[in-house]
Symmetry: C2
Subunit: 419 residues, 2 copies
């Protein structure tokens, strides 16, 4: 790597933006003025279309329109971003609820085999996913086995019933090889469940190609669906009709309007819809998903991934050059192992210092990243609306916070609040 | 009853509206012009405040505001309408999902007693609730016992683990005595679970007073929260901390922002929140709930109930007088046994005729009721926005549809679609 010896000028970044064919997509968003938003991996930016769409729903569609179509229509759109076929994805409920559905089904599929005793996951998996898995493991008398990322492949064994992973670590930004993990899981007779929260809209995902078993994901991160946007769920065709998921609701019924007193699950992924869909939140989610689909004529997810990698690479190069003595880049520098975010560990101080640096960046420079305990400063780079010059300016702001020690005042405030 | 011999004039109804202290509440709604909307038991009307509130959420609160507070704040507001104390109700997920949570907990509480083998419900319970109960009964090897409403009290026995009922039948509008049923259930050692979908905002509910065990309900019917609005859930304080509900999500965690890898349920009803709340849908729900709370200075739920009874009584009297030979009133005429709707069975024809009458009413008279298979025409009377003159005009429209036989053309269309 030659990063630390390369000198990058702001004018270079402006030139990169000028030649970026995806640059016009930024106009699809209502970005706060004078802010550099590097938190799209937590909550995507508001699309400009959302406000009008919600007004239209209120004016025209309040009375039932969309209750039936939206979960499938938006599901198909998301499916096109993650390597699923039309009719294989629906939008429903929250990520936690959808994970409960697919884990329950996966457990039911494995129950006949008494040697399958564990759900395996990453010790740094989304905690919320671990809560769902922990509850089901307890109910069904299985072990939830958590190991460090580096030990995952060797931990998969004949006892493994299910491997539950996210392709991109929310903490480090490390990207796993979905083909490799799915293949190793299958080799051990385990089912592979992916949480695509930091993947859908962020990098190329090929669910059918890697032969995964189940996937779920989040609507409000790279899909820009707004706070608490509904989640999506996918089951491989070989599993989708095998068993009924446990949250049996009327919109997962084969004939919901017959109002039969007994449950007959719908064929296909429709059975993963349970209760009545939240139409307003779904409408906003569709606006968000449409911003990603707008990249299709410009090269689609492959082009977005190329830009994402260029943005994160630029950030790593710049931060190494300007602040390499202060920060360790925790995220892998190899492109194939990096998601759409970069995480930094502050070398000099405590986790509280990293938190204070993020707070100072927001307060003094309107550069929005976030902090993940115990000690990571985390920056997400959404290729739809992040410019190369934003990366340069964000690093300049980080360097400035370090030089002026502005974060020390923030540390003081944090401590004052705690005590 | 003297209903059939009373002659009611339109001017009488206008006079009733003029002296109705709740009449100004109608201005809180964006009612479609020239329409008489008698379907608020299916989907409430759009509050005038909702559009502005959604714009405000988009403009000001997109970035996280409300994620934490809304489920509790709106929960407390709903709690005040159903006889629960502050901190006892949260808004989360859909009715089906919340029913799954409370039934799972109730089953866990009863599991130690091997004599408790059945979940008892009404054969005409909401089908969607029966789907959830059926799934759990199968998982836990219990029987789901369904009996006619009239047999419910005697069917409760020592084998009954859980009694699952709705106070108001969605089909007939019959209102059950919540105190009596809860008391009989407890006498048999069963737990009482109420679905308040057709109750919250429609009649006086006193969960603590009747000593119920669990309750759930819907946000988009009498609470006017909009299509697919989130649901609410209540657990009696004696149960709320007893066991963890199975859908363990990060917002039900005791310390969600510590991102611990193991689940510790929050104290109190907060543990019934699972994933991230859908902020846009919650904001709209709050506008809806606020329309009901606006009745508080005018007498609150008691005043709303009085008006609701007056409206349904007027409808029954008018329909009996004008169309008594054509329709049987299925809903009980005793006030204490009637919810906020009236259901009619067409004496002359098939269920398809009742469906056709509803379609003709909507198409030719802009009177919106709905149909429930196999043979019921159903009319809901929301006291917040329904006028006495609306009742008179609706009956006039129904009589007109009968007299002109307009519905026969509708029957033809229905049959044409089916064949």
């Amino acid at each position: 790597m030659t990063a630390a010896t390369t000198t990058i000028a702001r004018s270079d970044c402006i030139a990169l933006d000028a030649s970026d064919k995806l640059a016009p997509l930024r106009d699809l968003f209502s970005l706060p003025p004078n802010q550099i938003y590097l938190d799209g991996n937590s909550l995507g930016v508001l699309p400009t279309a959302t406000a009008g769409r919600l007004q239209a729903v209120i004016a025209d569609d309040w009375n039932r329109a969309g209750w039936m179509d939206l979960p499938n229509r938006i599901g198909d759109k998301i499916g096109s971003l993650i390597g699923a076929s039309p009719g294989q994805v629906v939008v429903a409920d929250s990520t936690s609820i959808n994970l409960y559905k697919v884990l329950s089904v996966a457990l039911a599929l494995q129950r006949a085999d008494a040697t399958k005793t564990t759900i395996l996951s990453d010790a740094s998996m989304f905690p919320s996913d671990l809560y769902v898995a922990e509850g089901l493991a307890k109910t069904w008398n299985l072990e939830l086995q958590l190991v460090p990322t580096s030990d995952l492949l060797t931990a998969i064994g004949p006892h493994t019933a299910i491997v539950l992973l996210t392709p991109v670590s929310y903490r480090t930004g490390e990207l796993l090889d979905m083909h490799q993990f799915t293949s190793v899981a299958h080799g051990a007779g385990a089912l592979m469940v992916w949480d695509l929260a930091h993947s859908a809209g962020a990098h190329v995902v090929d669910l059918l190609g890697c032969n995964a078993d189940f996937a779920i994901g989040c609507g409000y991160k790279y899909l820009n669906g707004g706070p608490g946007a509904p989640s999506f769920v996918w089951a491989h065709p070989r599993h989708v009709n095998a068993v009924s998921q446990p949250l049996q609701g009327w919109l997962g019924h084969d004939t919901p309007f017959a109002f039969e007193s007994s449950y007959t699950p719908a064929r296909g992924i429709q059975r993963y819809v349970a209760g009545t869909p939240p139409v307003l939140s779904l409408a906003a989610l569709e606006c968000g998903v449409d911003t990603v689909l707008a990249a299709a004529p410009l090269g689609g997810m492959l082009a977005l991934r190329q830009k994402s990698l260029a943005l994160t690479r630029l950030f790593i190069d710049c931060i190494t050059e300007r602040c390499g003595d202060a920060f360790e880049v925790v995220t892998p520098i190899e492109d194939a192992r990096r998601g759409s975010q970069v995480s930094l560990r502050f070398r000099r101080g405590s986790g509280q210092d990293a938190y204070a640096i993020i707070q100072a960046l927001i307060a003094e420079h309107s550069v929005v990243g976030d902090f993940r305990a115990p000690d990571l400063a985390r920056f997400g780079f959404t290729p739809l609306y992040t410019r190369f010059v934003d990366v340069f300016d964000a690093v300049h702001a980080i360097a400035s916070v370090l030089e002026t020690r502005a974060y020390e005042a923030q540390v003081y405030q944090v401590r004052a609040k705690v005590t």
